[in-house]
């Protein structure tokens, strides 16, 4: 999707219902996913003084994922509507409107933890763009720091399709699950969301981090994901 398409998708109405539809609902395993990610963030922000959440959306995770009060939090997002919500939720945060494929020199090497949640990388137009995002996340991470980026599991999309458990509105654009589309009941469309093989993403992080772990979330008939955690940036 292009930046303009993403801004149009994540408009005021979408921002208003986002948390209820994609974070808090127990449907499709979404609430359990949110619980896993908040727990993980609470442990990963321990001992960290600065956290950057890329594609921070409504700022839900920036607000609730902090493990201590001395944490400096920064959010980056393309959507003005989502950032307006993030500002309400996190009045102390530095919130930046911008494209995460751009370099943002001021962010370079500043953060002990950099996160990017809910598969924002999948909204890019090519694998090269996804790699550009990974390289940016790496550059914005301080030496010794951590990246947390939950990733889609394409092979599980295929398994869910075969068992007839794909979430309503989701269709696979590629038979191997590496691209999919989500048409929401109100007509909003996440078109051709990229889900490259997890090994490719892990390998890219491995070039700059001491170790990369992949932990699949429990099976759920929603959007299958795994926690990718890259530790100790060189």
């Amino acid at each position: 999707m292009t930046p303009d398409q993403i801004r149009s998708l994540y408009d005021d109405g979408y921002a208003a219902r986002y948390d209820a539809w994609f974070l808090l609902t127990p449907d499709h395993g979404f609430q359990e996913k949110m619980r896993i990610e908040l727990f993980t963030l609470q442990l990963l922000t321990r001992g960290v003084s600065a956290w950057l959440d890329v594609a921070c959306g409504t700022g839900f995770f920036l607000k609730h994922g902090r493990s201590h009060g001395n944490l400096t939090v920064t959010g980056l997002d393309l959507s003005p509507a989502m950032l307006a919500r993030a500002r309400e939720a996190n009045p102390d945060a530095e919130l930046i409107e911008g494209d995460f494929l751009e370099s943002h020199q001021a962010l370079e090497g500043r953060f002990g933890l950099v996160s990017s949640l809910w598969g924002a990388y999948g909204l890019q137009q090519s694998l090269d763009d996804v790699f550009q995002l990974i390289d940016n996340l790496t550059r914005w991470t301080a030496p010794g720091g951590t990246v947390f980026m939950p990733v889609f599991m394409p092979e599980r999309f295929v398994a869910l399709q075969e068992s007839g458990e794909l979430m309503a509105g989701v269709t696979l654009d590629e038979p191997d699950g590496s691209a999919w589309t989500y048409l929401e009941p109100d007509g909003k469309c996440h078109s051709r969301v990229l889900a490259p093989p997890v090994g490719l993403l892990s390998e890219r992080f491995s070039q700059a981090f001491e170790r990369v772990s992949i932990e699949p979330y429990p099976p759920a008939p929603g959007v299958p994901m795994a926690a990718l955690i890259a530790r100790n940036r060189h």
Partner: protein, 80 residues
Amino acid sequence: MSDSMTTEQVDQLIGRTVRDSDFRERLLADPATVLADEGYPVDANVVSKIEDAQNHVIGAVSTSFNLVAGVPDDGDATPG
């Protein structure tokens, strides 16, 4: 006094809590006991963060549901 957990042990713990729902629920309910039973050092700082995490999750869900329902946010994500 408590033993410190290494980053690798914290990562093991995160990994297990991600993939194993039952373990996660037990850990959130009684972190010190579960860490000891599973052979991890009982790191007071980690126990505290796990307890905070549980409170934050409950608070986050509660607060956000209230916001969706139009109840004003009091700005505190933790219950009680």
